[in-house]
């Protein structure tokens, strides 16, 4: 077990494609780190640089305090679970798990003991003599994990290990991975584009965009204190609503009304003209189901609900609004960065399951003004950021830097996503 330190890591491919740009991340001993970002953000490349399958163009990679830049994968003593599992189809499950031990020249009795132990942990005992071809997706996944845990590696690396499983199995395996990591207490780096996995599994999460680190913090810090528009839009489901806003003192003028926000949050936003306000769907509520002492005119607005999706425990209401052109452009770009498609500017509002609001109703919606974030549309920076609770935010303007890199990337491969999926 060992800590992993990435110091100013740069990856530039032979054709000049800048996949990873000056990323510094420390993974503490025993920590579960998630690398997350939209496709083509360089997260898999970064993982493959840790394990040694990609050369490091610049910067230092330290594992357990030892520089490993020039070590071959086999000399780094890391174990990795690949996205497509990469099981050896000509070997039985037993031999697949035993493979790293056999290469290390362990005695038969030791191999047997360790393989049995791993297979017991992963409940693979009855499949040991089968070939991977005869296993289900979940079983193959477990074999791949068995191969990873069977030897005493310094760290585990996972490259989108659950993306080939169906939703139910994914949930189960997620819990399983979390349990296993907690029990073994081994340093883990996990790449995913699924934010549920990012939020639930990670001790800390590093958000990447176009090979530039945006924020490195705990899931809670990311959710409550996103460093910029990109992180705000990426973390959370359904995603944060972005609406145009004008600030005057501590009053924020939104397209559907004016709300009052706490003084300290408004402090940084003074003197700016047009801003983007970010409000999570969960921070809205049907005024009729909110405690009456919270409901004031300042924090409620009336709007016509377009569509309602009722899920039982909650409901999503969609409220269209008009955005001025200067904001619209920024929002469209953001949507594209997040792998989405912007169809219309609309507000997604999460309502309590008890809410009776129907489609076409003019509803009174309450908004939790304390939780509104304000972003500078030019730089994307969060103006209401609480720096003490936002983890590590790289200096400079990460979003603008990612934008620049994005242009460079497009120059090398026009319109391409360096996605590994």
């Amino acid at each position: 077990m060992a800590a992993i330190e990435m110091k100013n890591i740069v990856k530039q491919y032979g054709d000049g494609f800048p996949a990873v740009n000056d990323v510094s991340i420390d993974v503490e001993d025993g920590e579960f780190l998630i690398l997350v970002g939209p496709s083509g953000c360089g997260k898999s490349t970064l993982l493959r640089m840790i394990v040694g399958l990609e050369d490091i163009t610049e910067g230092d990679m330290l594992i357990g305090g030892k520089k490993v830049n020039d070590l071959a994968p086999r000399d780094r003593n890391l174990s990795m679970v690949f996205q497509n599992y990469a099981l050896y189809p000509h070997l039985t499950v037993y031999e697949n798990i035993a493979f790293p031990l056999r290469l290390a020249g362990k005695s038969d009795s030791e191999v047997d003991e360790k393989v049995r132990e791993a297979s017991k942990t992963l409940e693979l005992d009855e499949h040991l003599e089968r070939k991977p071809g005869n296993l289900s997706g979940g079983q193959r996944q477990r074999v791949a994990m068995g191969r990873a845990i069977v030897r005493d590696a310094e760290a585990f690396l996972f490259d989108e290990p659950l993306s080939n499983l169906d939703a139910k199995l994914r949930g189960q395996m997620r819990t399983e991975i979390s349990r296993l990591q907690k029990r073994l207490g081994i340093t883990t780096v996990y790449v995913t584009h699924d934010q549920t996995e990012a939020m639930t599994l990670g001790d800390r999460v590093a958000v990447l965009k176009r090979g530039v680190l945006q924020q490195h913090a705990t899931p809670r810090e990311l959710y409550e204190n996103p460093a910029n528009l990109f992180v705000a839009g990426f973390i959370g489901s359904p995603p944060m609503n972005f609406v145009p806003a004008k600030v005057d003192g501590n009053r924020v003028e939104l397209p559907f009304g004016t709300v009052t926000i706490p003084e300290e949050r408004a402090a940084n936003a003074q003197g700016k003209d047009l801003l983007i306000a970010g409000i999570r769907p969960q921070h809205f509520e049907d005024a009729s189901v909110v405690d009456s002492d919270k409901v004031t005119d300042e924090a409620t607005f009336k709007a016509t609900v377009d569509v309602v999706e009722w899920l039982g425990n909650e409901a999503y209401a969609y409220i269209p609004f008009e955005a001025p052109d200067e904001v619209r452009e920024q929002l469209t770009q953001l949507e594209k960065d997040l792998d989405g498609e912007s169809l219309r500017t609309q507000l997604v509002v999460s309502l309590d399951g008890a809410s009776r609001i129907k489609e076409g109703d003019e509803a009174t919606i309450w908004v939790d003004a304390r939780k509104i974030h304000l972003f500078d549309p030019a730089t994307g920076d969060n103006l209401t950021l609480d720096r003490d609770n936002a983890g590590i935010i790289p200096g400079g303007n990460a979003m603008a830097k990612a934008e620049e890199v994005g242009k460079e990337q497009d120059d090398v491969k026009p319109g391409s996503d360096a996605a590994t999926t």
Partner: protein, 287 residues
């Protein structure tokens, strides 16, 4: 409807079977006929008096027909030559082809396209046009009438096809297999030997069989580049069979020899057939 299709399939099946197997059956039947029968103007399909004499003659077992005493010795020599020349050529060709194909499938290097085009060009080159030059060269450098003298051209002519077959197989194997092996602690060579080669086994066996067949059946080079039974292979040796009647080829003996040389081929195909089963790689990755 399905019955009709079924019937059609069966008719086609039988037609193809007859088309392919009739000559084989004819050879087998011929090999059991005595010289009297094969010399007759219009022989019947099945031997009227089945005899093992042809086999005795070529293998030198029991009583040999008078005048055929040398046949058996020569044939056994040729069989030995054929067997070892084909085996060595196959072995070397497969090793070289595997390494070359792996490099072509996995590495980016200058002149890769050139290598592949050259290989294809060699495969298309007519063997006959090389017989003259090879004959002269081999005599000069002392390879004429030796095993290497046949092994080298056999390898040359089968390598291109083997490389093409194998590189197609290697390309099918996901990169991750190898990377996983490296992460698991394998050197590049170990990853190649323990993961890639077993996965490419169907390709390796296909290449091996193609090479072996080529070497085993080859006639033009075998007869041109040899002069004695020290290195002459079976296809060439057959043309030296002389029967009791100098004006009639010894059909029975030839047929018996043909049967004997066909047996190893059939055995090999049956042995390797299980190895060539496609889908060995299924289950390697998601799916």
């Amino acid at each position: 409807m399905s019955n009709k299709t079924n019937a059609g399939t069966w008719i086609g099946f039988v037609l193809i079977l007859v088309w392919c197997l009739l000559p084989v059956v004819w050879i087998i039947s011929l090999s059991f006929k005595g010289p009297g029968e094969t010399g007759a103007g219009s022989p019947q399909f099945l031997p009227s008096e089945p005899t093992l004499q042809n086999y005795r003659d070529i293998l030198g077992i029991g009583k040999v027909t008078p005048g055929q005493e040398a046949t058996a010795g020569d044939f056994i020599d040729a069989l030995r030559n054929s067997f070892f020349i084909s085996l060595i050529a196959t072995f070397l060709a497969v090793i070289f082809a595997t390494l070359a194909a792996y490099a072509i499938a996995r590495l980016e290097f200058k002149g890769k396209r050139l290598v592949l085009t050259m290989a294809l060009a060699i495969a298309m080159f007519p063997v006959v046009s090389l017989v003259g030059p090879l004959f002269d060269m081999w005599r000069t450098i002392g390879l004429f009438n030796t095993w290497p003298g046949l092994i080298i051209p056999y390898m040359t002519f089968t390598l291109p096809l083997a490389i093409w077959t194998l590189s197609a197989f290697f390309r099918e194997i996901p990169w991750e297999m190898e990377q996983a092996a490296q992460v698991d602690g394998a050197t590049s060579w170990q990853a190649f030997r323990k993961v890639i080669v077993p996965l490419a086994a169907p390709g390796v066996f296909t290449a091996a069989i193609l090479t072996f067949f080529f070497a085993w059946n080859e006639f033009v080079l075998a007869i041109s580049l040899t002069s004695t039974t020290g290195s002459r292979t079976v296809p060439a040796q057959l043309s030296f069979f002389v029967g009791p009647d100098p004006f009639n080829p010894p059909y029975g003996t030839l047929a018996a020899a043909s049967v004997v040389v066909t047996v190893p081929i059939i055995v090999i195909v049956l042995l390797f057939q299980r190895k060539i089963v496609a889908g060995l790689t299924s289950g390697a990755v998601k799916g």
